[in-house]
């Protein structure tokens, strides 16, 4: 009952069919209107002068140029950003960049090599071990605080005759000592590995010391790195400015120079007209459909017997505007007789929702036909308001509703159905007028 009024597509199609002539005319008007627009547009394109075509080409070339410059600037900017990021990371995190040139903590150790094998090869192997990774293997996990990745710059091995000298510099004395100890242990542990390849040798620590030194070279190197960073940053600013200026130039160029007609592309006028006409036809279909749907939604008046059928209400018959019944009255009576017999009724109440002449006539026709079939009838026009009529309907135990299209509302119909339900009056069906 709640869904008494809904939008049904078959109702929509019926509406379309009923008003097919108007809708067809509207569709044609829309199609013609869109075709006209299409022709006008095609004419505008076709009628371009040589000067206009040149203007468009020049404009497009210029825009392409701007786009290329902007894309180049964006690419360079991305590269510079990457360079800055990497250098900034180095400046922020490396041990070397944190050194104070006047106060460098330094640790140094000298080893003497004694061997019958080639001493040069052994020393080279040890230097390689210190410089190229073996020394640092697995240390970054064990000692994450020691910044192992930047040791390459602060640990310097050097060779003189059969001597190996290792110098370590650091900004923090405690960490320096820790690294120093680690280096010594690792170098010592590496000697058997080298001996296996290069021949037996002994490595004796001659001397080791920890001290503080000043080194202007370190300060100079640090300044070089910082200057590089400064250079990249100013380069970035230049590129950003260039990008913004190119974007602004492009924007102002578009504002000032965009040709009024921009369609220099080739258009197939037949295809375009066809596309426009199709959209026109769509407008011609969609707009009436929208109007019908809005009418369904907003109007509370009964629209058709199909609406009632779709809401599962038994439509016994309908009275047409030409004065005929569909189906014929006799056929409707057969339905009513069967229903009345099933319910074991002796009388049927005719509940008419309107008091106009047509409603009275249809109710009287039905009353006469039902009377002939051997059932008593009572007719009421204000069942909801008149207590006497309601009593009669309740006494009859069954009723037939008479509703008029375009006059009675769904709310009225729903009210009557609820009333019947409340007083346990069986609704045998509905007769739709109009």
């Amino acid at each position: 009952m709640k869904n008494l009024k809904s939008i049904y597509f078959n109702n929509l199609i019926c509406d379309f069919w009923k008003r097919r002539k108007i809708i067809l005319c509207f569709m044609m008007v829309c199609a013609a209107f869109f075709a006209f627009i299409s022709v006008k547009r095609a004419e505008t394109v076709r009628d371009l002068t040589q000067e206009q075509i040149e203007e468009i080409e020049e404009y497009n070339e210029k825009i392409e140029e701007y786009n290329k410059t902007i894309a180049d600037a964006e690419e360079s900017l991305a590269l510079v950003n990457q360079q800055i990021e990497e250098l900034q990371q180095y400046v922020d995190q490396s041990i070397y960049m944190k050194l104070d040139g006047q106060n460098i903590h330094t640790a140094s150790v000298q080893y003497g090599i004694t061997t019958e094998a080639n001493v040069g090869n052994i020393l080279n192997a040890l230097v390689l071990y210190i410089n190229e990774g073996g020394l640092k293997e697995a240390l970054s996990e064990e000692h994450p605080d020691l910044s192992v990745e930047s040791w390459r710059e602060v640990i310097s091995p050097s060779i003189t005759a059969n001597l190996l000298n290792i110098t370590i510099i650091h900004y923090d004395e405690e960490q320096l000592k820790q690294i120093f100890q680690l280096v010594k242990t690792r170098v010592k542990d590496q000697t058997p590995e080298i001996a296996q390849v290069q021949g037996n040798f002994t490595m004796d620590e001659i001397d080791s010391s920890i001290y503080v030194k000043a080194d202007v070279g370190v300060t100079n190197n640090q300044n070089n790195h910082l200057n590089n960073l400064k250079g990249y940053t100013s380069n970035r600013v230049d590129l950003e400015n260039k990008l913004i200026s190119q974007q602004n130039n492009k924007k102002s160029y578009i504002e000032k120079n965009e040709p009024e007609v921009m369609e220099a592309r080739r258009i197939n006028p037949v295809l375009q007209t066809l596309a426009y006409t199709s959209v026109g036809v769509l407008f011609g279909v969609v707009l009436p459909a929208l109007i019908f749907i809005l009418n369904y939604i907003l109007s509370d008046r009964l629209r058709s017997k199909e609406d009632l059928r779709n809401a599962n209400i038994n439509v016994i018959g309908s009275y047409r505007q030409d004065g005929s019944y569909a189906p014929a009255l006799e056929r409707s009576m057969m339905d009513l007789e069967i229903l009345a017999r099933q319910q074991e009724l002796s009388s049927i109440f005719l509940n008419v929702l309107g008091e106009d002449e047509i409603s009275k006539k249809v109710a009287s026709d039905y009353a006469e036909a039902i009377g002939k079939a051997g059932y008593e009838t009572e007719t009421g026009f204000r069942v909801y308001d008149e207590a006497e009529e309601l009593k009669q309907m309740v006494k009859s135990r069954a009723c037939v509703l008479f509703a008029q299209v375009g006059k009675n509302t769904y709310a009225q119909l729903e009210q009557q159905l609820r009333l019947c339900e409340r007083f346990q009056v069986k609704v045998l069906g509905c007769v739709v007028i109009g």
Binding site: V279, L294, I297
Partner: protein
């Protein structure tokens, strides 16, 4: 003369006048979001005529209880001050629609919204497909080609799809079936694939999940009464406040955003720079009580992207900066009252919760062409407390009593 007077005294006349104004306004508003050319005549005719109809409805047919009158009067005063301060007329039309919708069936409002929106968007989609209007395609590096399908921007197309499904789901309620959810999930996928509108496809997906889970819990015999009651209680207590919670969350997040923090930057990336732009807006313009004129440079309407993009997309921040603290508070009050009025209707609360999430990223909160739910303030509820929903509610409460032998 008598007939004319009778006509104006017809019980449905107020509703008819309201819908005349509403349809005109809605049609023009949806049309503006498409690539169809907008003639000045359409604006000249539709907007004043709509305002006239809505004003007539209020003056001739509406009378408000004291509380409603005070709320509307204070909002009207605020809207006038917003207009003087910021020059923005949109809050006025929004309030006019809200006030004029008194005693109109909200179900009809949503149905009309659906019909008009579907018609215009369908026409725009077809016209763009036939190359009659431009299908704006944005080529983005990582996100591929984003299509607008006849609407001014891909995210606006996505927003239309999300709000249309939302309105449909709200009307359908417990009548939703598995194929509705399947179609919605497919639509969310298509919107993501063709428009790359992450927020709207995500929200459409959430819509299917939330309504599916909600219906699953409330109408399944397998779910215990305790869970059902807790679910309902949760929505009654928390769902009503969803919009306020999300508004406070958005404003605080924007306020505490730190440009230099990597974590905030990552978060900002996820929400497509909403936090940064909002924070810039606060720094540049500051807060006012009744708003200010802020030049919003956004995308849309053309494939040439502006170099100086500065658009505050978050609805709550937009309202705060553009229309002021006063209007934001009143707007939140209106939406919260809508939720409180419909607290018996979980489908309404689901819809409002989803809108609240959507508005954290998108700016459609008072645009009736997207979000018609503010009109529920004075309109007749779709589901009355003693209606279909509470029948279900009573049914399982009765079952609970039966089990407890009460």
């Amino acid at each position: 003369m008598g007939k004319v007077i009778d006509y104006f005294h017809h019980p449905q006349m107020g509703e008819r006048i309201f819908f005349a104004g509403y349809i005109l306004f809605l049609w023009r508003s949806v049309w503006v979001t498409t690539m169809f050319p907008l003639s000045g005549l359409m604006t000249m005719v539709c907007v004043p005529l709509a305002a006239l109809f809505l004003g007539l409805k209020i003056l001739l047919y509406d009378h408000y209880p004291v509380r409603q009158f005070l709320l509307l009067a204070s909002t009207l005063l605020c809207v006038c001050l917003v207009f003087l301060s910021s020059g923005s007329i949109n809050p006025f039309f929004w309030l006019l629609l809200v006030a004029a919708s008194r005693d109109v069936k909200f179900e009809k409002i949503v149905k009309v919204y659906l019909a008009v929106n579907i018609a215009v968007i369908f026409l725009a989609f077809c016209a763009a497909s036939f190359d009659v209007i431009e299908n704006l395609q944005y080529k983005t590096g990582k996100r591929g080609i984003r299509n607008s399908f006849g609407i001014i921007y891909p995210t606006d197309f996505g927003a239309h799809i999300f709000f249309l499904f939302l309105a449909y789901y709200y009307l359908k309620g417990e009548a939703l079936r598995w194929y509705h959810y399947a179609i919605t999930i497919a639509a969310a996928g298509l919107v993501y694939y063709f428009c790359n509108a992450r927020l709207d496809s995500g929200c459409t997906l959430m819509l299917a999940v939330l309504y599916g889970v909600g219906n699953g819990i409330m109408h399944s015999r397998a779910v215990s009464m305790r869970v059902k009651m807790k679910w309902e209680l949760l929505w009654r207590k928390v769902g009503v406040w969803a919009m306020v919670l999300f508004a406070v969350f958005s404003v605080l997040m924007t306020l505490f955003y730190q440009k230099d923090s990597r974590a905030w930057q990552e978060l900002d990336k996820i929400v497509s720079s909403r936090l940064r732009l909002g924070n810039n807006g606060i720094e540049e313009y500051g807060w006012t009580l009744f708003g200010q004129a802020i030049e919003m440079v956004g995308n849309g309407g053309s494939t040439t992207l502006p170099s100086d993009y500065s658009f505050i997309d978050c609805s709550y921040m937009y309202m705060l900066l553009r229309h002021g603290i006063g209007f934001l508070v009143l707007m939140l009050a209106i939406f919260t009252i809508c939720c409180y009025k419909n607290r018996h209707d979980q489908y309404f609360l689901y819809a409002m919760a989803l809108i609240s999430v959507n508005c954290v990223i998108a700016h459609h909160i008072i645009q009736v062409e997207y979000n018609p739910f503010a009109l529920a303030l004075l309109a007749q509820c779709v589901r009355e407390p003693e209606g279909a929903w509470s029948l279900g509610h009573l049914r399982w409460k009765r079952q609970a009593f039966h089990r407890l032998n009460l």
